[in-house]
């Protein structure tokens, strides 16, 4: 059983609304739509609802020149075959999702309504590991593999509401004081109306070569219910040090620690107090 590192900050009511753990692997080109039925059979007791979504092309964190080109998100269909969908298996409460496509296995927890509370990373990674094990067993049984992981991702989505009477800039300033400050005020214009930022950090491998990136982004947004918020997203994505399940789990665990450190470093003590920081 995974245990929470003792030195990680913890909160009684963190602003997190969704957490995603995922692995991408070399495309299983023999994995066809009928095989999704075998996969669902293994999960339908806990995830009885099913949804179809569009396929996502593979993504990779790679390194070379600084400031690489902007590249469009292009998919390469095999012309002779229709592209397989991405399928979501959803639990009855709609708080947990398993996403499966030809090259990906992803587990989401998401907050639905006000009641659902974050089950914590340690529980999520257990569900992810168990699900990934079942998925790989089916792929091996059907001789569709091997599953060779090439990227992992852990993401935290946080929503910070903009209270009535405050501007987006006000909340940015109190939440991210080191990123947003009075220096941006212009005499004739006052403070900016709002802002957005993205920070990228390189995750080093043990021997020092780059493994992946932590990407942190904050931007004004609107919730589905119309409320104005700041969407604060933290993602750790990269290549597992070993292309197997232990390598994937190690990357996700390390990524979670890095994201926790980033959250702790980039948000203010004032906001952390409001979120119920315990230590």
């Amino acid at each position: 059983m995974t245990t929470r590192p003792a030195d990680l900050p913890d909160y009684t009511s963190p602003p997190v609304t969704e957490v995603v753990l995922g692995v991408q692997f070399n495309s299983l080109d023999r994995f066809l739509s009928p095989h999704l039925g075998s996969i669902w059979d293994a999960f339908r007791d806990s995830f009885p609802l099913v949804e179809e979504h569009a396929y996502f092309p593979p993504v990779f964190e790679t390194f070379g020149t600084t400031g690489p080109f902007i590249i469009p998100n292009i998919n390469f269909p095999i012309i002779a075959k229709p592209e397989m969908a991405r399928v979501h298996f959803v639990n009855p409460e709609r708080t947990q999702v398993l996403q499966v496509q030809r090259d990906r296995f992803v587990h989401n927890w998401r907050k639905v309504g006000q009641g659902a509370s974050y089950p914590r990373f340690e529980r999520m990674i257990e569900v992810f590991e168990e699900g990934l094990g079942k998925f790989i067993a089916i792929i091996n049984r059907e001789r569709l593999g091997p599953v060779i992981p090439n990227q992992c991702e852990v993401s935290y989505f946080n929503q910070i509401p903009i209270p009535e009477g405050q501007t987006t800039w006000d909340v940015f300033a109190v939440t991210f004081p080191d990123r947003v400050g009075h220096a941006a005020e212009i005499k004739e214009l006052g403070a900016p109306e709002d802002t957005r930022f993205m920070l990228r950090y390189v995750i080093p491998a043990e021997e020092g070569s780059p493994l992946g990136r932590v990407t942190v982004a904050a931007q004004p947004a609107r919730r589905a219910d119309g409320a104005n918020i700041i969407q604060f997203t933290l993602t750790a994505r990269g290549k597992p040090e070993t292309a197997d399940v232990p390598g994937v789990l190690a990357f996700l665990s390390r990524g979670r620690i890095l994201l926790s450190r980033a959250f702790d470093k980039l948000t203010s003590e004032e906001m952390q107090r409001r979120w119920g920081r315990k230590q």
């Binding site: 390469f76 990906r104 090439n150 919730r223």
Partner: protein, 164 residues
């Protein structure tokens, strides 16, 4: 740009490298507050080699198993995607010519640049599985390197050849 290339632009959401691309659906990804664009920028960061490379890649994507009559595998889509979106942007100067893209029998591809002074070849067998070869025609020296996700040395070579 060919018709096939134009078709591929149906999802033309431009991304900063690969870092902002989507890995998974997230229900709580909120609606972005748009920044209205009154005057579109007239400069473009789209590199000159891109369209010609994409045309070749889309042709490779149409090959089926046994495309050469010798039992070769069809070109893997994850190889094409990895090469176009994750390797080339990291190594290519904007003025570099498009490579010649050649299918390999194992589902991989080979990319070749041939200049007056040097020849560069990259074989992408799978994501994170790349072999780069550089031949200096002036000195006669050859350098081979196996790469996964860090293409810095290959980028140095390409920029030294094509930065002009």
């Amino acid at each position: 740009m060919s018709a096939a290339t134009a078709l591929a632009w149906r999802d033309d959401s431009w991304q900063f490298g690969n870092g902002a691309a989507r890995f998974s659906n997230a229900r709580s990804a909120a609606f972005r507050v748009a920044i209205p664009e009154v005057s579109a920028p007239t400069t473009s960061s789209r590199p000159g080699w891109f369209d010609q490379t994409l045309d070749q890649f889309l042709e490779l994507a149409e090959l089926e198993d046994d495309w050469d009559g010798r039992g070769s595998a069809q070109v893997r889509r994850d190889v094409l995607s990895f090469a176009l979106r994750s390797v080339l942007p990291e190594i290519m100067p904007p003025t570099a010519p498009a490579p010649s893209a050649i299918p390999l029998g194992n589902g991989g591809i080979q990319l070749v640049w041939n200049s007056k002074d040097a020849e560069v070849e990259i074989e992408v067998a799978a994501p994170n599985d790349v072999v780069a070869s550089y031949f200096d025609k002036v000195t006669g020296k050859q350098h081979d390197e196996r790469l996964t996700n860090d293409f810095s040395t290959l980028a140095d070579v390409m920029w030294s050849i094509y930065k002009g």
